[in-house]
């Protein structure tokens, strides 16, 4: 009998250690990822100089005098991220507002589910759609120089991609605002629209803002859809209707063929991407935790 209990006690210890190791694995992987990225990327940045890297406008890793300036990619990334957040954010927030109060209740659930379907579509399919439909469309009807690729088309598609995230979080945020405010506004003679836009939306603004930050993060990190729509030329984006590259598409296009310094340059830009994403995620967490406190 006694050995039975000894066995149980040992088993308890072993399993607890196993659970612990599994939990530790996340920390371990994160450290490993950071190790590989930073140990390759940071020395490279110091080697060729931070301003040469970040502000250099010539990306020519394969030429005789190799040049590793990613400024063009940074600008393109900023443009795409900003524009897609503008498209997706506006569309998303207003869609959420409509679902909140302006769509009959019986349709709200099914429309929300449908919009969530958009979130489930793999990004390559967005890329394919962008490449085969949006690019020709923009080229023929919107572009001022006969080019369909570029920042504009990409932002359109990414805007739709981040839409469901923004809609669902903003809608949750709006629904969590106490209805007392709404009733109070109406009681003072305000119309439904005034109550919603002047009182309820501002009350939900931290949640809405958080959703936009999350959407921005997604747009920033997107690769496959971008690579199929944006064109791929490493030139400086002087128009939103010309072929360019973002940091993400630059990494995807190059990693398979480049090595040595060129690969380190890509790793370094990966580090920059990582840092930006981290900042956005931290902002999102901070806003969420502030909301919880209130």
């Amino acid at each position: 009998m006694l050995s039975f209990y000894k066995f149980i006690a040992i088993r308890e210890k072993i399993m607890k250690a196993t659970f612990f190791m599994c939990a530790f694995f996340s920390l371990f992987s994160l450290l490993l990822i950071m190790l590989y990225l930073f140990m390759n990327g940071i020395p490279f940045i110091s080697k060729i100089g931070f301003s040469n890297f970040v502000f250099g406008t010539l990306w020519a890793p394969l030429s005789d005098v190799a040049s590793y300036g990613i400024f063009n990619m940074i600008i393109a990334t900023l443009y795409v991220t900003a524009l897609s957040t503008l498209f997706g954010g506006t569309l998303g927030v207003f869609t959420a507002i409509a679902l909140y109060k302006f769509i009959p209740k019986k349709f709200v659930r099914i429309i929300s589910q449908l919009i969530n379907l958009l979130a489930g579509i793999p990004s390559v399919i967005y890329g394919l759609f962008g490449m085969r439909f949006v690019v020709p469309f923009v080229r023929d009807y919107i572009s001022n120089n006969g080019v369909g690729y570029g920042i504009f088309s990409t932002s359109l598609v990414l805007g739709i991609m981040i839409l469901p995230t923004i809609v669902s979080i903003s809608l949750d945020s709006l629904n969590s605002v106490s209805s007392k405010f709404y009733e109070g506004a109406l009681a003072l003679g305000a119309t439904k629209e005034i109550a919603v836009f002047k009182i309820m939306v501002p009350a939900a603004k931290s949640g809405i803002f958080a959703s936009i930050i999350l959407g921005t993060g997604r747009a920033l990190g997107e690769t496959m859809a971008v690579i199929m729509i944006i064109g791929g030329s490493p030139q400086f984006p002087s128009s939103i209707f010309e072929s360019v590259r973002t940091l993400t598409s630059n990494i995807a296009m190059g990693a398979n063929e480049l090595s040595g310094d060129a690969l380190s340059a890509l790793i370094a830009s990966g580090v920059i991407l990582f840092a930006f994403s981290l900042m956005l995620n931290i902002s999102f967490s901070l806003i969420e935790s502030k909301k919880k406190e209130n």
Binding site: I8, R11, E12, M15, F19, F20, C22, A23, S26, L27, S29, L30, L32, I33, L37, T90, L91, G92, F94, T95, A98, F102, I103, I115, L118, G120, I121, P122, S123, V124, I125, Y126, G127, L128, F129, M131, R132, F133, I160, L163, E193, I194, G217, G221, E222, T223, M224, M228, T248, I251, A252, N256, L266, I267, L273, F274, S277, L278, L280, N281
Partner: protein, 285 residues
């Protein structure tokens, strides 16, 4: 009504109209994408395309095999580690909570890393460092780390939703902590855990940025071992789209969309039918 009042009312009414238009645009976008895939894809999905050999005409059979392998590898690694991590975080909470916070932050950070950065990591460690070259194993292991946060978060939620009275009841009967976890808590949370695994499969299906740097996009050969290079459905869409096979791209997209839809339906069904509901406080006499 004063004219200024009228102006204000019109202003907000037009905002309302704009919001309704936004919903319509969102729905049009959804319908547009799905319609695009169906219209362009459905006619090209033939038996040969799905299961034939990739000779003169493209076939997605290598991609189907590759995708299956990737799902297998990533789940086999991520599921036990993820579930056990969640168990540690929920059932052993009165330990040094600083460590808990660090683990949680790690998981959140892992969830926020862009997929191309994962791809870079996978390339550096598996393709270069371990010298495997492009391999399904490298891709699968990288994917495993990617889907880990998803599994941990959902499993944690499911475990936390198990009523504490059940744990108490088990301890009261003389069961040890480990027995309570495996015989009471996990079975009670099983529908949530299985759902999270199914959704993780959906994630693996949709991924491509990671794979393009780790498995190599070999579209015309069926992979022989885990260490072979290969391709996946999502990657094939990229390949066909970018290298001049628009019909095949659309057809693959069609297949992938159907699979994603099936996965989501499966998750929904599991959630509904496997739930071991407990009416612990609403007993009838």
């Amino acid at each position: 009504m004063l004219s200024s009042q009228k102006r204000i009312k019109t202003h907000y009414s037009s905002l309302k109209v704009f919001s309704l238009i936004s919903v319509i645009i969102s729905l049009i976008a959804l319908v547009g994408i799905i319609a695009f895939v169906i219209i362009n894809g459905i006619n090209n999905v033939t038996y040969d395309f799905l299961f034939g050999k990739y000779d003169n005409t493209p076939s997605i059979y290598p991609a189907l095999i590759g995708t299956l392998n990737l799902i297998l590898i990533s789940l086999v690694v991520a599921a036990p580690i993820g579930i056990f991590s969640a168990v540690f975080l929920t059932e052993y909470t009165n330990l040094n909570s600083i460590f808990m916070k660090i683990i949680r932050v790690s998981i959140e950070t892992l969830a926020g890393i862009p997929s191309i950065v994962y791809g870079l990591f996978g390339y550096l460690i598996f393709v270069v460092s371990f010298n495997w070259g492009y391999s399904l194993l490298g891709g699968g292991l990288t994917l495993a780390i990617m889907i880990l946060p998803v599994i941990v978060r959902s499993t944690e939620e499911s475990l936390l939703s198990v009523p504490n009275e059940l744990r108490e009841g088990s301890y009261a009967l003389g069961a040890s902590k480990v027995r309570t976890i495996f015989k009471v808590v996990i079975p009670c949370a099983s529908s949530g855990i299985i759902t999270s695994l199914i959704l993780a499969i959906g994630r693996v299906l949709s991924e491509s940025a990671v794979l393009i740097l780790t498995i190599g996009m070999v579209v015309n050969k069926v992979p022989e071992t885990f260490l072979s290079a290969g391709t996946s459905l999502a990657l094939d869409i990229y390949y066909f789209g970018s290298y001049g096979y628009p019909n095949e791209a659309a057809a693959t997209a069609f297949v992938l969309l159907i699979l994603v839809l099936l996965i989501n339906l499966l998750a929904y069904a599991v959630g509904k039918f496997l739930k071991k509901g407990g009416n612990y406080s609403e007993n009838n006499y």
